[in-house]
């Protein structure tokens, strides 16, 4: 039978040019706020995500936004942190709360059969958090230790210093935490931030899972009344101050690997070149078969991993190449990285490689949007930037139409060495 089967020949396959979008539906609460939802999946589960304008962009003092988020469920007027957690845990529910630069996001995952018990606890947390002093104290001590431990890692030093080089130490996208910041963290600042920025009339609400009449009614009962308020977030403007030097080095004598970051600030998601640059990024360092991986890991063995990515915030973003390499091959790795950037600017990518990238990107989109929670994430990812599903249709079209010339043009426009900031932490 081996003779009959030609194993050197790939089976026939179908090229996908787009993915059928599962779009969110909407529902209006009694108080006028809109809830979006994705009803899909076989399991009887429910997720609610609430997105507040409560990222570090809005804070007046360092660490306040992050702390307001991490300590959100650490006590209300009626219940201690332990009591709140016991209640959620008893019903097998998971509460997650995190803040980034622009938003604070609160997620509750629960089985539908317990929704009537878990939603009121969520509301209690979102309307009556009190940030007890003793919980803050424990939190500060834990976070300080974690920060000091992180500061021993070349990867952490590289990430935190790199954004500071891109945006400046005073800019919300560039600030990094210090131990002193934790020492001057005050309960009253966190509480005031919470009261101002976590308001249920000003948040984006997205539900996913098995969502029917009953679930919508319960959400309306707890989050649709007139008892919730509008926030008064002040939108401040910031000027970003990019470093004027190109090369930066932080020495760490005991490092056996060096961390490398190379990149630049870049536009937001609504820019006309965004999807094109995103294809270039994938080709260069966005997947396992990328040029950086093929060269620096799979050919030279300098690293366990290397990649590139685009970070998108509300007001700006950045492009970055990241890796950790053996300290003794650090400068050889830098040479190879710049060589790959040169090739992108000077040579045209072959059609076969470009087809792999295109098909990979559509396939990746499909696997990233499998299931109700993933479709809700896909909605949030555009909604929070004020974009609609046209964004994804543009993405499919760009991936389909992009040419080798377009790729070269993008590389010439955005990836010139003189425009890129380089940071090495460790030894070189």
């Amino acid at each position: 039978m081996i003779g009959e089967l030609d194993r050197t020949k790939a089976p026939e396959f179908k090229v996908m040019e787009s993915v059928n979008l599962l779009e969110a539906e909407s529902f209006q609460l009694d108080n006028g706020n809109t809830v979006y939802y994705i009803n899909a999946g076989a399991q009887d589960v429910f997720r609610i995500e609430l997105l507040f304008n409560a990222g570090s962009w809005y804070q007046q003092k360092a660490l306040v936004a992050g702390s307001a988020s991490k300590l959100l469920a650490e006590g209300t007027s009626n219940r201690s942190a332990e009591a709140l957690a016991s209640k959620m845990d008893f019903y097998g529910a998971f509460l997650q709360s995190k803040a980034d630069r622009d938003f604070a996001s609160v997620n509750l995952y629960t089985l539908n059969k317990h929704l009537g018990e878990t939603l009121p606890v969520l509301k209690e947390i979102l309307t009556d958090a009190v940030y007890p002093e003793n919980e803050l104290k424990t939190y500060i001590s834990r976070e300080k230790q974690a920060l000091i431990t992180n500061q021993k890692k070349v990867s952490y030093l590289a990430s935190s210093n790199f954004v500071q080089l891109l945006f400046g130490e005073k800019h919300p996208y560039g600030r990094k935490a210090s131990v002193e910041n934790y020492n001057s963290l005050r309960r009253i600042d966190i509480l005031e931030f919470y009261q101002k920025n976590y308001q249920l009339l000003d948040c984006q609400i997205v539900l996913s899972g098995k969502i029917g009449e009953k679930q919508l009614q319960l959400v309306n009962q707890y989050f649709g009344g007139e008892d919730v308020e509008r926030g008064n977030t002040e939108v401040q403007g910031f000027e970003s101050r990019r470093t004027s030097e190109r090369e930066h080095f932080i020495s760490k004598d005991d490092a056996i690997q060096s961390a490398i970051k190379i990149g630049r600030p870049i536009f937001t998601k609504d820019h006309e070149d965004y999807h094109k640059l995103s294809v270039v990024n994938t080709l260069l360092g966005g997947y396992f078969g990328s040029r950086l991986m093929a060269n620096i890991r799979e050919d030279k063995g300098y690293t366990y991993g290397i990649g590139s990515g685009l970070a998108s915030f509300l007001h700006s973003g950045y492009f970055v190449i990241s890796t950790e390499v053996g300290a003794e091959v650090c400068s050889a790795s830098l040479t190879e990285i710049y060589k790959e950037l040169e090739i992108l600017q000077n040579e045209l990518v072959g059609q076969e490689e470009l087809d792999i990238v295109k098909n990979y990107m559509i396939g990746r989109f499909q696997s990233n949007t499998d299931g109700p929670f993933a479709w809700a994430d896909a909605f949030t990812a555009i909604n929070k930037h004020g974009l609609d599903y046209g964004y994804y249709r543009d993405f499919f079209k760009t991936v389909k139409d992009i040419t080798p010339e377009d790729i070269r043009t993008m590389a010439q426009k955005y990836l010139r060495k003189e425009d890129l900031i380089e940071l090495v932490v460790g030894k070189r």
Partner: protein, 412 residues
């Protein structure tokens, strides 16, 4: 409830199919019954290095990743002490590409010298990145040989030392492949938007012609019962002291596995758990404290860890952990606390069934352990755990002569 159907090819490859038309994807998961425990004590880290070589080209297909990415697929793999697992997802229409690629590397690798040299370097960098260039990164390299004196769980998957990886030869690679990477030593699960008949036909076409290997009977030395407490003190350039305490427990298939899992949940799962509330918040001895089980196929460990607050001594830290363990021995759990961790286990199980990759791996793993249908009895087993059982286990296993402790000291 996970539905599946099973068949076995003549060469011994077991194939399980889970149909789910709600996803546009197909998953192919191949689990090989080989892990770091099957290594020679002088050639450790080999199963994991070998996993890297599985991506370095096979006999008829020079590159594994490219053709998969070309059809919109992606893949990865992991190795642990028990097993090595390879998984890929593709748009369901392109399922056959997965069969083509996976069957060719089961048929034979290309055994390229270049691939061995490069992956050896990559794995050494992985060793450095994850174990040597990280604060507390070497703790598993210290804890395993303290807990295990005979059983091969005494070394970590990455290996005992970098030298073993440097010394690996092409001959070792070939021997390993023909011994362990045979169809009769693997389980394949195909899940997602697939049809049983289609999978059966594809499996016979692509995997049917691969010859079986000799049966592999695993004869590992079993760890003797520990008779006295073991301690180790090390000093490293880390910012804070840490304590690690490990105790021998039963294996994954043992009747007490689910009770042990719930014990660690009581101690450290979520914000209502005991270690956080008693030792971190109330007494302020640790900035962080955790408990977990290793979940191994052979008898494993329960591990308790704590990161000490400056000024707290190791002795104080250890005593406080013993107090929490002793509490499990003396005071039966009240109904609510036990029901809480059971409900949490049930909910986690429901959420985990939403991911096709998870479902596929769990089916493969339980099949390898003896019976895939156990995937559907997990929740019942958690619900069946009793307060008496937990008390009995704590009294038997959470005792000094079964304990290994590491004081991981900060060099200040």
């Amino acid at each position: 409830m996970i539905e599946y159907k099973k068949f076995t090819l003549d060469n011994g490859l077991r194939v399980l199919v889970h149909e789910d038309s709600s996803t546009p994807l197909a998953v192919v998961n191949i689990l090989y019954d080989v892990g770091a425990r099957d290594e020679d004590p002088d050639k450790t880290g080999f199963a994991h290095l070998f996993e890297h070589l599985m991506f370095g080209g096979s006999v008829n297909v020079p590159n594994f990743d490219g053709p998969l990415q070309r059809v919109g697929g992606e893949n990865n793999a992991f190795t642990n002490n028990d097993v090595t697992n390879y998984y890929l997802t593709v748009p369901a229409e392109n399922l056959e590409t997965g069969f083509w690629l996976e069957s060719d590397r089961m048929l034979s690798l290309a055994f390229s010298d270049k691939s061995l040299e490069v992956q050896r370097q990559v794995v050494i960098e992985e060793f450095r990145q994850r174990y040597l260039n990280q604060p507390y990164g070497d703790v598993w390299l210290l804890l395993r040989p303290l807990v295990y004196k005979v059983h091969p769980y005494q070394w970590a998957t990455i290996g005992k030392e970098v030298r073993h990886i440097e010394d690996a030869s092409m001959r070792d690679v070939k021997d390993f492949f023909y011994r362990f990477y045979r169809p009769n030593n693997a389980v394949m699960v195909v899940a997602g938007n697939v049809q049983f008949d289609e999978v059966k036909q594809l499996a016979e076409k692509w995997f049917g012609p691969i010859p079986a290997g000799e049966a592999n009977k695993r004869m590992l030395p079993q760890e003797p019962e520990q008779t006295e407490k073991r301690t180790l003190e090390v000093e490293r350039d880390v910012p804070f002291d840490m304590i690690y305490m490990a105790f021998h427990i039963g294996n994954r298939m043992g009747e007490d596995y689910h009770a042990w899992d719930l014990i660690t949940d009581i101690l450290s799962r979520g914000k209502s758990a005991r270690l956080l509330n008693e030792l971190v918040k109330k007494r302020g001895l640790f900035s962080d404290a955790n408990a977990f089980i290793s979940g191994d196929a052979d008898p494993g460990m329960i591990i308790v860890t704590g990161k000490l607050i400056d000024g707290v001594s190791f002795e104080q830290a250890e005593v406080s952990i013993w107090e929490q363990l002793d509490r499990l021995k003396s005071t039966p759990l009240d109904f609510n606390e036990l029901q809480k961790v059971k409900n949490k286990a049930e909910a986690s199980h429901v959420f985990s069934e939403m991911e096709a990759l998870n479902v596929a791996y769990n089916l493969a793993y339980f099949e390898l352990l003896g019976d895939a249908s156990m995937v559907n009895t997990e929740v019942e087993k958690y619900q069946a755990v009793t307060a008496d059982q937990i008390k009995r286990l704590a009294n038997t296993a959470l005792v000094e002569q079964n304990c290994s402790v590491i004081y991981y000291k900060s060099k200040k």
